[in-house]
Symmetry: C2
């Protein structure tokens, strides 16, 4: 491999993993496909109602360590005060942006709102799911564009105020990683700059979510214009959401179970839909 090619490959993997790579050897991906803890839905009683709940979260395993030289998640055992009673626990070493995770506004700049300051009322919101799987099957860099929002609204009505707009492109983090390695070039679906601008300027939207691992589509990595514009507006994003096929296009309530960690720029979450 030429030196220039090697550098370019490092950039691709750095972009994908979100961590600068120091030139260490890149081990192969494990090849396992991502999966939510429960790929289906279940029911819970709520007063006289039986609610359907859907887990929108990938089980966070070490498979998400796409770059073994810079593991995104690792754990070491530590002794607890009750070690004689059988207590076990770990100290986690965790990159905030791993697995199904939230991006807080301060992910793109000091001084923007951090994860610990996002009120619960911004994290329990109506969910609107926009399906772009057909064009994503044709192009791994397909974007959710204003025309997709307009098409959705012709069918389902205007986006609910205060909602989260989720892109369902059919992306799978491990299949995407395997393709990137195979093709030597990073590709990903994501929101287009114009779609993000439309949602910020002409709709009332609290967050966006993608089943890909980046809000920005492949060609916009690593300049990240959607991340910059969207997060700096004070809104949040979710990357690596999954199981959107099991949720309705409109009518579900999204709960983003993000631990309110002060100063954090993001965190793995439990995301779920109720309807």
């Amino acid at each position: 491999m030429q030196k220039e090619d090697a550098l370019r490959r490092r950039d691709f993997f750095a972009a994908l993993s979100g961590v600068a790579i120091a030139g260490a050897a890149l081990a192969g991906a494990e090849g396992a496909l991502a999966a939510p803890v429960d790929p289906g839905s279940s029911k819970v009683r709520f007063g006289r109602h039986a609610l359907t709940i859907v887990d929108l979260t990938h089980r966070l395993t070490r498979e998400f360590n796409f770059d073994p030289a810079h593991p995104r998640i690792a754990m070491e055992s530590v002794d607890g005060s009750g070690v004689k009673a059988g207590m076990k626990m770990h100290r986690l070493s965790l990159i905030e942006h791993t697995g199904t995770h939230i991006d807080a506004p301060n992910h793109f700049g000091v001084g923007y709102k951090n994860l610990g300051d996002i009120p619960l009322s911004d994290l329990v919101v109506p969910l609107a799911v926009i399906d772009i799987a057909a064009k994503a099957a044709a192009s791994p860099n397909a974007e959710l564009e204003p025309a997709d929002i307009e098409r959705w609204e012709r069918r389902h009505g205007r986006l609910p105020d205060g909602c989260c707009v989720a892109m369902h492109s059919g992306a799978d983090p491990f299949a995407d990683m395997a393709r990137t390695r195979r093709e030597g070039r990073f590709a990903s679906t994501g929101f287009s700059v114009d779609a993000a601008a439309m949602l910020m300027q002409h709709r009332q939207v609290k967050g966006i979510a993608v089943d890909a691992m980046t809000l920005d589509a492949g060609p916009n990595v690593p300049n990240y214009p959607v991340h910059q514009n969207w997060l700096r507006s004070g809104r949040w994003g979710i990357e690596g959401i999954t199981n959107l096929k099991a949720t309705p296009a409109v009518g579900a309530l999204l709960v983003v179970g993000a631990a309110p960690i002060a100063e954090a720029t993001g965190m793995p979450v439990r995301a779920l839909a109720l309807f």
Copy 2:
């Protein structure tokens, strides 16, 4: 201070912090009181309904580093792939059992269910709040006992199947820590062994939650019989839940937003009540 006293103090603080202490100097607590991100409630539209949502979660700050020699949470900046675009992120170093957090069954033994294997249907459950604040005001080691459960049931009916039983003792982690330092002896409210046994054997309960930082009351630390019995039965616990005053005794749905991290024995969560 006598050597024996010093050792005893170390044991107390080790028990409280959940991490063995290597004899380093113990710095003073910050004195700030714990607080949820939003101490009140807010409303969210859900179809034709307006749901009330209550945040049951402490904002996770470095104030939870009760033992400065063994910080439970720390973060360092790492370069992201989009550093030129302004990307900021951290690598967290985190003890799993910090702030408002869940205890998974494997917290008390290898081979029990880990956090990544708890299905969502076990984390979205009816919430029953049992108030023992009056007796906790009289004794910092007050326990939630079978008689408290029976009293609750006489007023509200039988505990709902599949529920979480939350102990509201009025505990505040920082006030408790300050008292422990002041008195040189660890004290905490918690579930009694008999109450945990009653819930396991005679009711259908998925989890228990406490506003204290331990499921076991003070005299049972660090032998942890409630932890041992309850968690090894495959059930979960939450420590450091808060804001229970803002929730009804019965009728709310609890959502435990715990990221499904494979192998983890626990994790800070976003816990919330909907009603």
